[in-house]
């Protein structure tokens, strides 16, 4: 599973807002230039981003192997026709390029995920989205991070209990129903208690935000993002 990996690469030291901008700009450029030349240029850039983020290429690709069937299927399905010649290679070219584009985007977003803590991302969200919406989204992402291990443990104990009780005998609907019914009860219990904990600690619309600051490394990265966006719209 891909997640934050501590380190001191260039990307680790960039502000999360800068990294979000570069990522978004890369995606815009990739969609605008889904051509052999465009994707070749972006491949060079993506490899550069990986190098600046201490992110290894092959292990990253392996992490996404579950996507491979879709990426292969898309050009095959698009190229297929219901009758001779059964397959039109010309129709499959663009979907194949698009599949390759997905691979590049996965690489670049992995670089973000591996070099950015959830706390930094949360701080970035709360600064980029103004007002109460920003508080709900920023704080909410932090809460999801906190609740994940708790609910994973809850659900795995529910699953074990269900398996122990039912064996493999019930229908799929019945299994889903049991897991979801128990899971829902647990979710209500957790959320009621979680709400109390938030209240007890003065959950507020105007908290002090987690610290974030740009450094002298950020402007060049922003310039890169600007060039990518310009290439996409011009």
């Amino acid at each position: 599973m891909i997640g934050y990996v501590p380190g001191d690469s260039l990307s680790h030291r960039l502000d999360p807002r800068t990294k979000l901008a570069v990522q978004a700009a890369f995606a815009a450029a990739a969609f605008a230039h889904t051509t052999p030349v465009g994707l070749a240029a972006l491949t060079v850039l993506a490899l550069g981003i990986l190098a600046a983020s201490a992110t290894p290429l092959l292990p990253t690709l392996r992490e996404y192997r579950a996507f491979a069937p879709f990426l292969v299927a898309a050009p095959l399905v698009e190229g297929a026709t219901l009758g001779p010649p059964w397959f039109v290679p010309g129709d499959a070219v663009f979907p194949a390029l698009a599949s390759y584009r997905v691979v590049l985007l996965l690489l670049v977003s992995t670089a973000y995920v591996r070099t950015t803590t959830a706390r930094d991302s949360r701080a970035a969200i709360q600064r980029l989205v103004p007002g109460r919406v920003g508080v709900v989204l920023g704080a909410g992402v932090g809460f999801v991070l906190r609740l994940l291990p708790l609910l994973r443990a809850d659900l795995s104990s529910i699953r074990d209990a269900t398996n122990a009780r039912l064996g493999g005998e019930r229908s799929t609907v019945e299994r889903i129903r049991l897991v979801a019914t128990t899971g829902l009860r647990r979710a209500f219990l957790r959320s009621d208690r979680f709400a109390l904990a938030l209240q007890a600690r003065c959950f507020a619309w105007n908290p002090t935000l987690p610290p974030l600051s740009f450094s002298r490394r950020d402007p060049p990265a922003f310039a890169l993002a600007a060039v990518l966006v310009a290439s996409a719209v011009l």
Partner: protein, 233 residues
């Protein structure tokens, strides 16, 4: 000072707290004991406005809770029964910082309070540890630190020893003794007075939502009759 005046709280037909009056002076270590369902948790949740009374009032340092909820919540630090439910962030430092951040303190002050609070529970330097990786005793102590970081005058702990082994219980007791020493008043909600009664200045026993006993040093058989596990059982 926590002052409870003629407080009544009902859940539908059931009266959980029935016309209770009680005051906990600054610096006191008070055990609020009673069997399950006696109204202990319901009572203390009025101290910081998590529940509103059907009648009566709670005053914190002379101010009614409902007229300044922020002051009540910062003034009365609350540690919930299962500390896993009291954490709001994934790492120790972020969790302890949550209260002071909501109070709008500046970053230097927040960092100082987080460091002090963790120091007070002997968890100094553990800011980046993941909450999910802590032991039961460490969780309880970090939960206490989360309350302490709001700089409360009073600390309320709901069944803090549930599920802890003896060394972990000892460590929590020692930290509570230190905090009491430093002038914080401590209210421990419990159905089991072993261990903790040695620290207590006072034991208040609730039964069916009423105060059944209020004494500095209650007799063990009296406690047992009220459904509370006495100190030397």
């Amino acid at each position: 000072m926590i002052e409870v005046r003629n407080l009544t709280h009902r859940y539908g037909e059931t009266t959980a707290v029935d016309d209770v009056s009680l005051s906990v002076p600054d610096g006191q270590f008070c055990c609020l004991a009673g069997p399950n369902g006696s109204g202990k948790t319901t009572l203390v949740r009025h101290f910081n406005g998590l529940l509103s009374p059907d009648s009566g009032a709670v005053l914190i340092n002379g101010t009614p809770v409902e007229s300044d909820v922020v002051a009540a919540r910062a003034g009365v630090g609350m540690v919930f029964q299962d500390p896993r439910d009291g954490f709001v962030a994934a790492t120790v430092g972020a969790d302890v910082a949550f209260g002071p951040e909501n109070l709008g303190l500046d970053r230097a002050e927040i960092d100082r309070r987080v460091a002090d609070a963790l120091d007070a529970v002997r968890m100094a330097g553990r800011e980046s540890d993941r909450i999910a990786d802590l032991s039961g005793g460490e969780r309880e102590r970090v939960a206490i630190a989360g309350a302490l970081a709001m700089d409360p005058d009073h600390l309320v702990l709901d069944e803090p020893f549930t599920g802890l082994d003896w060394p972990a219980r000892r460590a929590v007791l020692d930290r509570l003794a230190d905090l009491h020493e430093s002038g914080v008043s401590v209210v421990v909600v419990t159905h089991d007075l072993r261990d903790v009664s040695a620290l207590a200045d006072r034991v208040v026993v609730l039964r069916d939502g009423r105060i059944a006993l209020d004494a500095a040093d209650p007799a063990p058989d009296e406690l047992a009759d009220l459904g509370v596990r006495p100190p030397s059982a």
